[in-house]
Symmetry: C2
Subunit: 448 residues, 2 copies
Amino acid sequence: MQISRPQDHSELNLEHIINDLDSGALYKARSHLHNLFPTEIALLLRSLPMDYRYQIWDILAPEAMGQVLAALQGEVRIGLIEHSSSSNLVEAVSELAPGEIADLIGDFPDEVRQKVLKNEGGSRLEAALSYDGHTAGRLMSMDALTVRSDATVDAVLKYLRAQDKMPANMDSLVVIDKNEQYQGMVAVATILTTEPQESITNIMDASEAIPTNMPVSEVAAIFEHQEILSAAVVDNSKVVGRITLEEVLDVIREEAEHAVLTSAGLDEEHDLFAPVMVSAKRRAVWLAVNLFTAFLASWVIGLFEATIDQIVALAVLMPVVASMGGIAGSQTLTLVIRGLALHQISASNAMQFLFKELAVGAVNGVVWSIVVAMIAAAWFSNVPLGVMLGGAMIINLSCAAVAGVLIPLFLHKKGIDPALAGGVLLTTVTDVIGFMSFLGLATIFLLA
Amino acid sequence: MQISRPQDHSELNLEHIINDLDSGALYKARSHLHNLFPTEIALLLRSLPMDYRYQIWDILAPEAMGQVLAALQGEVRIGLIEHSSSSNLVEAVSELAPGEIADLIGDFPDEVRQKVLKNEGGSRLEAALSYDGHTAGRLMSMDALTVRSDATVDAVLKYLRAQDKMPANMDSLVVIDKNEQYQGMVAVATILTTEPQESITNIMDASEAIPTNMPVSEVAAIFEHQEILSAAVVDNSKVVGRITLEEVLDVIREEAEHAVLTSAGLDEEHDLFAPVMVSAKRRAVWLAVNLFTAFLASWVIGLFEATIDQIVALAVLMPVVASMGGIAGSQTLTLVIRGLALHQISASNAMQFLFKELAVGAVNGVVWSIVVAMIAAAWFSNVPLGVMLGGAMIINLSCAAVAGVLIPLFLHKKGIDPALAGGVLLTTVTDVIGFMSFLGLATIFLLA
């Protein structure tokens, strides 16, 4: 995040547009919007409360709407679609790639979807619809240019010159054999610097093609490792499209955003300015889960009511043990969740990591138990109380390390996203063990 | 994160290499490594404990080491550099771009750095070193091909054919005027499909160039909005290099990873298998901060020792109020931190968002206060106790919403990363207000 910059471009956009709309200067707002890229307009719409958002949508040219809708997700997109006239939606998608249309029309009202299928119809949109969402087939564009591997550079140059206009971001051509099977890629720049009589097969790069059913997260990994700008997409070795790094970028951004939101139980919260009741209802789920675990912790404390009744200082100190365990455990948890997402942690190295984390937990447990023991002993002039607190801290920080490793691994194995459920399970463990160990030790040793 | 796939490529790599090393089959390990991309080897090294990591490094060809080091960060990179011989390091960097060398040699021992500066020396490395880290100047490669805007397509084709070999991922050429000032970009593919006598100035794209001192996060935003594969880098309008989307990808990945780690106080924890004492020391900082806030909460509870002494059920129930406030507040906090990072939230719309969150907090406060009040009243057969608990919940969830908005905005304004300090400040507020409101209400109304 940039800090020292005074105000950035998107912040200024936001301020200008709000000023224009507030002062009723719609023509100024419209010309301002005209100078923005579709992704910038999308960001602007996401940043605005509903009333401003729909004012902007109403003055936006229909031909710009398609790209903007394609750059949006979830409820912001759905809200704008609901606010659009059928004719605007039909016009909006006319400039989009088949895969983009396929992604969008699922959110369209029935009769508009039918109209789009009729207008844009034909094999390309049908093909795009036949691929699952979040796969290479949906991500690709269908404008790949193919050349035969036995062609000469000269022949390819002639073929390319005969093209009316090159598709955008066309850095490479796809090479196929005489049976239309995928062979490799050849950079346009390489073709330019090669002798005319050279055969394409000698200058192509035999990189792997991407199958249509590959999940987009794997597509992203391939682009990352191979350091390429585009790749061919194949269906049983037959070339059906291409993906450029530019499309992969959106995938990576969305995955990163998903990871941040999921850990707070906000997976579906795409719209900052969703209606209050919608937001409240969605977040209530997470609060309900937490309520259950909070009462579980209360129940553990309740088991020791008699002990607390005799030594009220226990009630004062018990949150310290639980809270320190929660922090230590969540540090381990964060590393494991990241390690799983980056494929750094698997069955082969999990045990070694567990031992390392257990050692870290034990070291910090001992160090901090001494500190809290001294503070508590001094505060309540009660050395045994401090010793119990310190002992409970060592127990809880060690358990927190083990839970921080095992909980996400277990969830991952069961097919549950550890970022979603990991945190709440972990704090349940650290709360229960924290209260139980501190109050239990006190019951055994202080009341004896 | 992929769940249903049985085992992915990087997991298999890890398993194979560990098997090879355990069985002493170094030749197999070496040939396995030979088939991997540098970024895959980097991932493998990050996933392995120290002893395995250094075994692999010892059998890796020096010419592969450079790309692998360039793909690593932080302490994993530093550890491998320390483990390498001077001659290997000098050989390793020989294949790298000046910017990559500039990034690496800061971590090299003095005498190796001197040797590299002597070997690779000259103006390019010196130029790369003159730019700050995390700026476009450091990210760029210096292999941009420039053509004059008044040249014809035919002349440019001749010039390109005279090039020995095209640099990798060269999708566009940079257009300059006769004073070597930047004019725009022209796609190689466009040159191919244009009539030979056409002037470059008529087919170029007058997109903005990137100044050398632009922070890399802004470079990423430009690539994202403009949907381009490469851009020129300029120093006072003079073209000094180019950046491709492939280099920007690393920036985006690193920013996403940074965001995840920072929120757990793990900003510097790049190495899963760092030595125990190193990890323990680093994480102790965050535990120390938390210890302070935990004792602050204890102090608040201590203020009500006399009340708890009379009604021990308060001690049993008080964590519920604090915990629910913490969860509700962190949901708001997460949205604001994301909104700030994406430039969605700024001074222009902060108040509207605050009111929305306050309303969400109040709605959920009322709903859940009724639930907890009924549970607590039934559990302890004490209706007034339940009412106090419910009242405290409404207070704490409303305050949590306000704190969840204002804390990150305040930190952002002060130039402190809200992802780093936001969570701990928020739970301090929700703990203090949670305990204070519940125990305070009980003192006033139950002991009266």
